[in-house]
Amino acid sequence: MITAGIDVGSISTKAVIIEGGRILSAVVIGSGYNARRAGQEALDLALKEAGLQADRIVGIVATGYGRNSVDFAHRTVTEITCHGLGAHFLDPAVRSVIDIGGQDSKAMALNEQGRVREFVMNDKCAAGTGRFLEVMARALEVDLEAFGRLSLKADRPAPISSVCTVFAESEVISLIAAGEKRENIIAGIHAAVAARVTAMARRIALAPPTMMTGGVAKNIGVVKALEERLGHPLHVSEMAQLTGAIGAALIMASSSS
């Protein structure tokens, strides 16, 4: 039985096709302005990659910020539930998830089946999300992709204390003017993100092993900063960004069986 999961985020849309617990294909594209079109396009690309016709798909589940626009999906499920199941698929030992996306961040406690027991979210404030990193990358005139790599070369993270993104940007600019090394500033930015996310995450009982998901998981600097704050290692899958779509595809698989 073949099922598909589509995760329409604010910045990127992901589609995954699964059969019998095996990923057949996975696609990531930009979301653009039209969630429905993004969802359709992503699914079409995933079908092409898997060499399948659309009618082979038994069930489609949409998740993410734009899920309600994907009217051709059979079900919509929140990204919270999907990230839990997706993380469980990627590593069944995982008991908690920290997800940092473009616009929000969340933490989830999971049970042995990957179902969410408790969750906490920041969906209001840019600090502690991918948006914060984007703003800082612009201020530093550094490619966001390079952030992780550069931060590993820091000798001393420059402390950035503000909770507010606007204030923090101001701090970064002052640091640049004071001649602080880019690497140290970036490390400081990562530490700030880790501080925000950890403070939120610890409001629920997070038992390790913990997986980090979402686009920001690709940033090794943030991962390390979080690990330091949490005091234990984080599992990061190569498929971190696809976690939500994987979980979505799995939902249809389990409910159809």
Partner: protein, 412 residues
């Protein structure tokens, strides 16, 4: 615009208040005694709010501990951020008072500069300063499982009436009964009269100390007052406070006699409103000093003299309730504006610096209206600084520096 004045180290040494060291000694001894193990210490510990009626505690030989004072110490030692983060992990919203958050977290992790406060045997909460303390002390009462006494002081929006008077006086009697029960012995009314006299004497001395800055140049600034405040807050009603303040007052009078001002070339005299920004006092002090501006008075430290007109030397206990109920912070916005106007006139100030303190709603809400009232009535410039008293994450140096500079430029 005038060039900033930079002081040499020798100059700074000359202007330093010598009594500071004695203050540190006394406060250290006070905390050390409190942190002795109960068997050695023998005295019970009460945690009490900053506006709480402490005098009866001294009568009962109970050591009063002030979590708010500890909050100030946490702020001054720059330990506020990790403790506030801990409080958020515990589920306390970031928008809550940072004294409360820091204290609740410090109790959990034995945090802060002295490794946590000694555990209380009782909690005394007076809501004359705010409603937050009620909730904060409920939290701590559940945590420590000790008796909690609440002195509920109705707010004087415009008038303090007889119903309020009777309510607070009845509660003072309940307070005495509470202390008798928790301490297991009768209340010594003679000792109360003595402690009352010492309290009034301490407040009178504190008032004289604050009034030395009427002179030009002012022998100290409000930043010095913030430091010396702890004595009248925590040791009000003791001989120690009276002796220390006599010493401090003598030194300040001498500085006045010799024309030693804290700010060299004192040109601008300003009034500060609201709690201090504890983790940036030196930075703020330097910022103003460099531009020859002296913060000669503030509404916060003056708060510990506002009981004076309402106390009765010969019937301290009889007026305890009312004097605690009618502090300036427990009154309407227009009354608070009058308070500032009085201070501006008394100290001949040319401007007011408002700290819009995220942590303190009763003190901060209404500041915009007070600002307008002052501008209309006195025609003097005012500055609004947005920050927080203990949580440094809400302090943006770049933004605040610009505002202070712009304000000082408008003072001619």
């Amino acid at each position: 615009m005038t060039q900033p004045i930079l002081l040499s180290d020798a100059e700074k040494e000359r202007r330093k208040i010598k009594a500071d060291d004695r203050m540190r000694e006394i406060m250290a001894a006070y905390y050390m005694e409190a942190k002795l193990p109960p068997k050695e210490r023998k005295k019970k510990i009460a945690w009490i709010t900053s506006g709480g009626p402490v005098e009866p505690l001294h009568v009962m030989d109970v050591i009063p501990i002030y979590p708010e004072n500890y909050g100030a110490m946490i702020g001054a030692s720059k330990m506020g951020v990790p403790l506030c983060e801990k409080a958020e992990e515990m589920g306390y919203a970031r928008d809550l008072c940072s004294y409360a958050r820091a204290d609740i977290a410090a109790a959990e992790v034995q945090g802060g500069p002295i490794g946590g406060l000694p555990e209380p045997d009782m909690l005394i909460c007076c809501n004359n300063i705010c409603g937050t303390v009620l909730k904060w002390y409920e939290v701590q009462a559940r945590r420590f499982q000790v008796p909690l006494f609440i002195l509920d002081t109705p707010i004087t929006h415009t008038r303090f009436n007889d119903d309020m008077r009777r309510y607070v006086q009845r509660q003072v009697k309940e307070y005495i009964g509470f202390l008798e029960e928790v301490c297991g012995r009768p209340f010594d009314y003679d000792r109360m009269a003595e402690v009352g006299r010492l309290s009034i004497r301490g407040q009178e001395l504190w008032q004289e100390i604050l009034e030395t800055t009427v002179h030009k140049p002012a022998p100290m600034t409000c930043f010095d007052a913030f430091f010396h405040l702890a004595m009248i807050v925590t040791l009000r009603g003791t001989q120690t406070a009276v002796d220390y303040y006599q010493m401090l007052l003598a030194e300040l009078k001498e500085r006045v006699a010799r024309g030693i001002g804290m700010v060299p070339n004192e040109k601008y005299r300003l009034v500060w409103d609201n709690l201090p920004i504890w983790y940036r006092l030196r930075w703020l002090s330097n910022k103003f000093m460099e531009r020859s501006a002296c913060l000669v008075a503030d509404t916060y430290t003056a708060g510990w003299t506002s009981w004076l007109p309402l106390t009765d030397r010969n019937n301290f206990l009889g007026f305890l309730g009312e004097s605690y109920a009618r502090i300036f912070l427990n009154s309407g916005t227009d009354l608070m504006a009058e308070n500032i106007i009085r201070i501006v006139k008394k100290y001949d100030a040319q401007g007011v610096v408002f700290h819009s303190n995220r942590s303190c709603k009763p003190y901060s809400f209404g500041q915009y209206d007070i600002q307008r009232i002052i501008q209309q009535r006195l025609g003097i410039p005012t500055l609004m600084i947005e920050a927080d008293m203990v949580d440094e994450r809400s302090f943006s140096e770049g933004q605040i520096e610009t505002r202070i500079d712009a304000f000082l430029e408008t003072l001619k």
